[in-house]
């Protein structure tokens, strides 16, 4: 009774753990009302996330963890999950089990039970199991294994109440340490003295359950040996573990850790046999039929390329119209502002700075929405693991890994989550290489730059041009991965072991939420970082104010008339207006800074404005567009007619199609925005950040230089 009361008043810290792709995040979202990222790919969640619910006066604090197959962790995301469970002492573990794949899922469950923490099993995907004819008697299974179980259906929230009831009961009932698996007498005889020796130190035993540690020692788990070091009798225990391992290995003629795994599977197999019936054997599986084509030996790779191509083609095709609407909307708004506000700084700030800058970025929202929608669909159906299958061979040849595909594809959306997704790569070297090449996957924020320039300078082939940039990005990532693997990151190839989930219908709600989140992020960025930098850029382009003197204007007019003797007076006037604006711009703070950095950009064919625009891209890549918007519209404000940025760029003499192409290329290759750089730092540290920065900047400059110089020579001949 007392126990019950105690259990009831306090907040419960509950770990949601289980195999990758078992539906932990889906269940977490259903429990807490959160909207964290779900995807039909093993390894979507790479960090822990908390959320709570209240029910009947009790607070349940759920922690969604990355997926693990075993408490022996290999990759960083797995370490996060294991360390949480071992070190942060959750009150209870909800083991999320994929009901269609019980044996492998229960393997981890047995290890949770050994920890002496109460475990509740969520038999998730029970809808799929039923469809497949797998009939699970959860009472019987729970009784054999010694833990309460409830059937759940994550996306619909089915079984959630029952699960919470079981959590209440289990939290009150104390741990289930007596219910752990028996490994058979040969192993048990080795475990028993080890456990006893570990338990001899009460303080230590209260931190680490002796039985669990004893098993882990026999499994040669490095982390377990680290923990053991705190034990006063560490040396003695270590010796005993060693001799036990030797005995087992001699007796079974295989590695001790394999013996333990086999014993677990044997036990599970028995338990499952008693409580799970296959009521029908399906003779048709949709996944298999689709995979006959998608994973066909000849077609898999071409299909992957076609899918990528299709995603971008569709993005442009569908995005074109709404983008045009946005553009005319902002054109209309700025005309309105021009008419309503008297000439002066306020008008200039509003029209040139805010509408010209931020509006220019806003116009690209439709593209971002469509791109994220399509990428998210691919992820949710389960295509990403097929992509890993299709490309492993090619990626391997370049020193990458099949599992690099998922982070790299995310990189087409945004580098930040992509860089974090690389945590699922087991080898540090693979992970570093993958992270270093992710920025070459042209992200959603660079897309506006490419689209703007392609439309302005290659109007007939705009989408092909953008595709070309994407293709160059992919090629660069492969070549640089190869180069890195030959130099700084040499090493043996690492294994490729990855589960292949079945296809699943994407949950529209999840996809739409994800797209909404990304879009909102983009819009918010437009309202904050981009707005702030637009105002800043406007300010440094407008101040200090300097107008050309009468004498200077006269000499400009004379020069123009000498060059164009038959020009009409209006033309002269228009020219003078532009020239005057250009004069002020060049003498503004931005002009001085631009002129200062111009020498670095000249060899690439860039004038100072282009230089300034590319530097501001570090704040966020969309800022390149807003900066250009401000720099190129300053000259047109007096004419009281709105002109799209595209037209302004076309008209400018500083740009030629060659320079436009070099600029797109340069934007693609140079270091990503601050947010992505910060992520590289937090994932890999300063050293690799420095390397990445220098590498990308150097490569971008050299490529830009080479293409511009060669292109100029070709154009001249």
């Amino acid at each position: 009774m007392r126990n019950d009361m105690q259990g009831f008043t306090k907040t419960l810290k509950i770990a949601l753990a289980g195999n990758p792709n078992a539906g932990k995040t889906t269940l977490f979202n259903a429990l807490t009302g959160a909207h964290h990222k779900v995807g039909n790919y093993p390894g979507v969640t790479v960090e822990k996330r908390e959320g709570s619910v209240r029910r009947g006066g009790r607070e349940y604090r759920f922690v969604d963890l990355p997926g693990i197959y075993s408490l022996t962790a290999y990759s960083i995301d797995e370490v996060v999950a294991r360390d949480f469970i071992l070190d942060e002492a959750p009150d209870l573990i909800v083991d999320v089990l994929d009901s269609t794949n019980l044996e492998r899922n229960l393997f981890l469950c047995l290890q949770f039970q050994e920890l002496g923490i109460p475990v509740v099993g969520a038999l998730n995907m029970s809808d799929e199991a039923q469809a497949k004819g797998i009939d699970i008697d959860e009472k019987a299974l729970g009784a054999v294994l010694g833990l309460p179980m409830a059937k759940t259906v994550g996306p619909k929230g089915g079984g959630i109440d029952r699960l919470l009831d079981l959590i209440d009961e289990a939290a009150g009932a104390g741990d289930g340490a007596d219910k752990t698996i028996r490994y058979g007498s040969e192993v048990e005889d080795r475990l028993e003295p080890l456990e006893r020796l570990i338990a001899s130190d009460a303080r230590f035993a209260s931190r680490f359950p002796p039985r669990w540690l004893a098993v882990k020692l026999l499994e040669k788990d490095a982390k377990a040996y680290e923990r053991l070091a705190d034990h006063p009798k560490a040396a003695e225990i270590g010796r005993l573990a060693k001799s036990s391992i030797d005995w087992l290995e001699k007796h079974y003629a295989k590695d001790a850790e394999i013996v333990i795994s086999e014993q677990r599977y044997g036990y599970i197999h028995g338990a499952v046999k008693e409580s799970v019936r296959i009521v029908k054997k399906p003779n048709f599986s949709l996944t298999e039929s689709i995979d006959k084509v998608i994973m066909n030996r000849f077609l898999a790779l071409p299909i992957f390329v076609a899918v990528l191509w299709g995603v971008f083609k569709l993005t442009f095709a569908l995005g074109e119209y709404p983008m045009a609407w946005f553009e005319s909307f902002f054109g209309w708004v700025s005309e309105l502002a021009l008419a309503a506000i008297p000439e002066g700084f306020l008008r200039s700030l509003l029209v040139d700075g805010i509408i010209g800058g931020v509006g220019g970025v806003f116009s690209f929202v439709p593209l971002i929405v469509i791109l994220f929608f399509l990428l998210s669909i691919l992820e949710d159906v389960g295509y990403m693991s097929r992509a890993a299958f299709a490309t492993d061979k090619v990626l391997h040849a370049f020193g990458l890994h099949g599992q690099s595909v998922f982070p790299m594809m995310l990189g087409f959306g945004c580098s930040v989550p992509a860089i974090m997704a690389a945590r699922t790569l087991k080898s540090r070297r693979d992970r570093i290489v993958t992270i270093l090449v992710i920025p070459f996957m042209s992200c959603g924020a660079k897309l506006p730059v490419h689209v703007l320039f392609a439309a302005a300078f290659f109007p007939k082939r705009a989408s092909e041009m953008v595709m070309l940039i994407y293709a160059i990005g992919v090629a660069l990532s492969l070549v640089s991965a190869w180069a890195l693997r030959k130099t700084a990151l040499r090493g043996d190839p690492t294994p490729f072991v990855m589960e292949l989930p079945p296809y699943r219908a994407p949950t529209l709600r999840g996809v739409l939420w994800h797209v909404w989140e990304k879009t909102w992020h983009y819009v918010k960025k437009a309202g904050t970082v981009i707005l702030a930098s637009a105002i800043l850029i406007w300010a440094i382009t407008s101040f200090p104010v300097s107008e050309p003197s009468e004498a200077e204007l006269e000499s400009l007019a004379a020069a123009f008339s000498a060059e164009h003797p038959e020009a009409a007076p209006e033309e002269l006037e228009a020219y003078l207006e532009t020239a005057a604006a250009e004069y002020s711009l060049e003498r503004s703070a931005a002009g001085s800074i631009g002129k200062f950095i111009e020498p670095a950009f000249r060899p690439l064919g860039f004038d100072w404005k282009i230089g300034v625009a590319s530097v501001t891209g570090f704040a966020a890549k969309e800022v390149v567009v807003s900066t250009l918007g401000i720099l190129y519209r300053v000259g047109t404000e007096e004419s009281e007619e709105s002109e799209s940025l595209r037209e302004a760029l076309q008209r400018d003499s500083g740009f030629t199609p060659l320079i436009a192409f070099v600029f797109m290329l340069f934007t693609l290759v140079i270091p990503p925005c601050f947010a992505a750089l910060a992520t590289i730092r937090s994932e890999l540290g300063w050293k690799w950040l420095g390397f990445a920065f220098a590498f990308m900047l150097g490569l971008g400059w050299i490529l830009g230089f080479a293409v511009f110089q060669i292109g100029s020579v070709l154009a001249a001949s």
Binding site: I134, I258, S261, D392
Partner: protein, 102 residues
């Protein structure tokens, strides 16, 4: 015999995993233990990855891993090979037995 020798559609029973510690243990944790039934669904083409069904789910592994999993053929491997040779793909029936009942 090893998984890498199995033609698409061939069923097998795992004997043991002969791979170094980390991968070996991981494969054992994922279900490749003595006596487990499985089947090669597809793969090995041009040294690309294999898709293997084990304990009722599918896993992708490279040839180097497949070559380290010693197995005992179940059924007639040459029949699976022939079926593939005639371009009919692998036989569904073969790989199915390894669901939740062994």
């Amino acid at each position: 015999m090893f998984v890498s020798d199995a033609p698409a559609g061939a069923s097998f029973k795992v004997k043991r995993v002969l791979l170094d510690k980390e991968v070996g243990k991981r494969l054992a944790d994922m279900g490749f233990t003595e006596g487990a039934e499985g089947a090669v669904v597809r793969g090995g083409f041009l040294r690309g990855p294999f898709q293997v069904r084990i304990r009722g789910y599918d896993i992708l592994i490279r040839r180097s891993e497949a070559a380290g999993i010693e197995v005992e053929p179940v059924g007639d491997w040459s029949a699976a090979r022939d079926a593939r040779g005639r371009g009919r793909g692998f036989r569904h029936g073969h790989g199915r037995g390894c669901g939740c009942s062994e």
